[in-house]
């Protein structure tokens, strides 16, 4: 068993005077897929934002490689990829420009690699069309193109399957499984019925808050 990448100990979050979850403890190990489950409003997105470091309104402990994450923020961010509800795509820029801007802060990459990644998500021929002219699914695919070239060991993906067609969903599932097999850790939320081998589940909501 290898060391967990991210460990949550007694995580607790309250929002608008409502306890979303408490005493939540789990580990994200390399080579695993974790699905966060729960009905609407049970705090799935909030939990993912907490894990990604976007939400600071929580108590408990979050350990990155065994040490408190707050002290190793840059190292954590260097090794974590987060895709949220909002895809992070500027409607005025083209897919290539968007992808370039998103990747450039993380790793120097040639345009060839970016174009190949876009082609890999089925956006070949749309590289130079401003993103606002693309459909919602295509815009998400621009964001998903990052997954094809990302080498961060921890992926945190919120509702990745939204607006993606059936073929895309299959390809994406395949990508996530392959990723876990290669030793990456993936945390997802989805309402799509995801059945993947050796999937860890974190259930939120329910009567006692857990």
């Amino acid at each position: 068993m290898s060391e967990p990448l991210l460990q949550a100990v007694n995580l607790q979050c309250e929002r608008d005077d409502r306890m979303l979850f408490r005493d939540l403890s789990f580990s994200i190990l390399p080579g695993t897929l974790t699905r966060v489950e729960g009905p609407n409003g049970s705090g799935k997105t909030t939990l993912l934002r907490i894990l990604a470091g976007l939400n600071d309104a929580w108590s408990g402990q979050l350990l990155w490689l065994g040490k408190p994450r707050a002290r190793r923020r840059e190292e954590f961010l260097h090794n974590m990829l987060y895709l949220g509800h909002r895809p992070g795509i500027k409607p005025l820029l083209t897919p290539v420009e968007n992808l370039r801007a998103l990747m450039a802060g993380r790793k120097a990459m040639s345009d060839g690699v970016l174009l190949k990644a876009l082609a890999g998500t089925g956006l070949a021929g749309f590289e130079d069309v401003p993103c606002r002219r693309l459909s919602a699914g295509q815009q998400r695919r621009v964001a998903l193109a990052r997954l094809l070239i990302a080498d961060e060991p921890l992926w945190i993906l919120d509702e990745v399957f939204t607006a993606i067609d059936i073929d895309g969903v299959t390809a994406l599932e395949h990508l996530l499984v392959q990723r876990a097999r290669d030793g990456g850790a993936v945390v997802v939320t989805t309402h799509h019925d995801l059945q993947l081998p050796s999937m860890q589940r974190i259930c939120l909501g329910g009567a006692d808050g857990l």
Partner: protein, 241 residues
């Protein structure tokens, strides 16, 4: 570490230098802005309109305009920067690029500084380029116009930097306009006083070195402190969204 080599921790050497990251943010903001030019014209048009309406509304007398001209230009520039502030982070917030910016493995305050620099190039700089023309219109003398442009050159970046704090703080709100003005205008007042004071001193033939140095001190203070405050405010706003 015991991970598979292909998905192990990313080597530190892969990290992108903070200057590259800042340049990317800066270039992306400029590019996006030039794709939507009407948004760029808005503050400029406002600036020109306000300055043009003063002679019509108050008095076209040369003596009045010479006295009030620098103040009119400064107030108009200040309001027009204020008008454009809400856009600084709002679009990025709505489309999710702001989340990705916060999660970039570089110090956030430097990335915020890059964004603010882009904002200044898009709003403050065009105002300074237009100022001489409007200065002639309100009968300012050559020397006063030069000093006015200099004060705007030092002053407008301060306006953008202070404004970034307010824009970041009010990001989570639906209608941020009023609160943003209330928060920011008191902080703009010293810049306005020294900006117009410098031009008034120049018009009387007094030395302006001291005024300019003080404004320079404002700018240094704003560059060093405002990005920290704005970055912290961004974290809070994102945390609550």
């Amino acid at each position: 570490m015991a991970f598979d080599a292909r998905a192990g921790l990313r080597p530190e050497a892969d990290a992108v230098s903070v200057f590259t990251a800042m340049r990317v943010v800066f270039v992306r903001d400029l590019r996006a802005a030039f794709r939507q030019r009407q948004d760029l014209l808005n503050p400029l048009l406002f600036f020109v309109m306000v300055v043009t309406l003063f002679p019509l509304g108050v008095s076209p007398e040369v003596s009045f305009l010479q006295l009030a001209g620098s103040g009119i230009l400064w107030v108009a520039a200040l309001l027009s920067v204020l008008l454009s502030l809400d856009h600084l982070f709002r679009h990025d917030f709505d489309d999710g690029t702001l989340e990705q910016l916060v999660l970039q493995p570089q110090p956030l305050f430097l990335l915020v500084l890059a964004k603010t620099a882009a904002h200044w190039v898009l709003t403050g700089l065009p105002l300074i380029l237009l100022a001489p023309l409007l200065g002639v219109m309100v009968h300012l003398e050559g020397n006063s116009i030069a000093v006015l442009c200099l004060t705007l050159l030092i002053g407008t970046p301060v306006l953008s930097l202070i404004g970034a704090i307010g824009a970041a703080l009010t990001l989570g709100l639906k209608s941020a306009g009023v609160l943003l003005s209330l928060l920011i205008i008191p902080l703009y007042i010293p810049v306005l006083i020294f900006g117009t004071g410098t031009v008034a001193a120049a018009a009387e033939g007094a030395p302006v070195g001291g005024y300019i140095a003080l404004m320079g001190a404002f700018l240094v203070l704003a560059i060093t402190l405002a990005p920290f405050a704005a970055a912290a405010a961004l974290r809070i706003s994102l945390s609550n969204s």
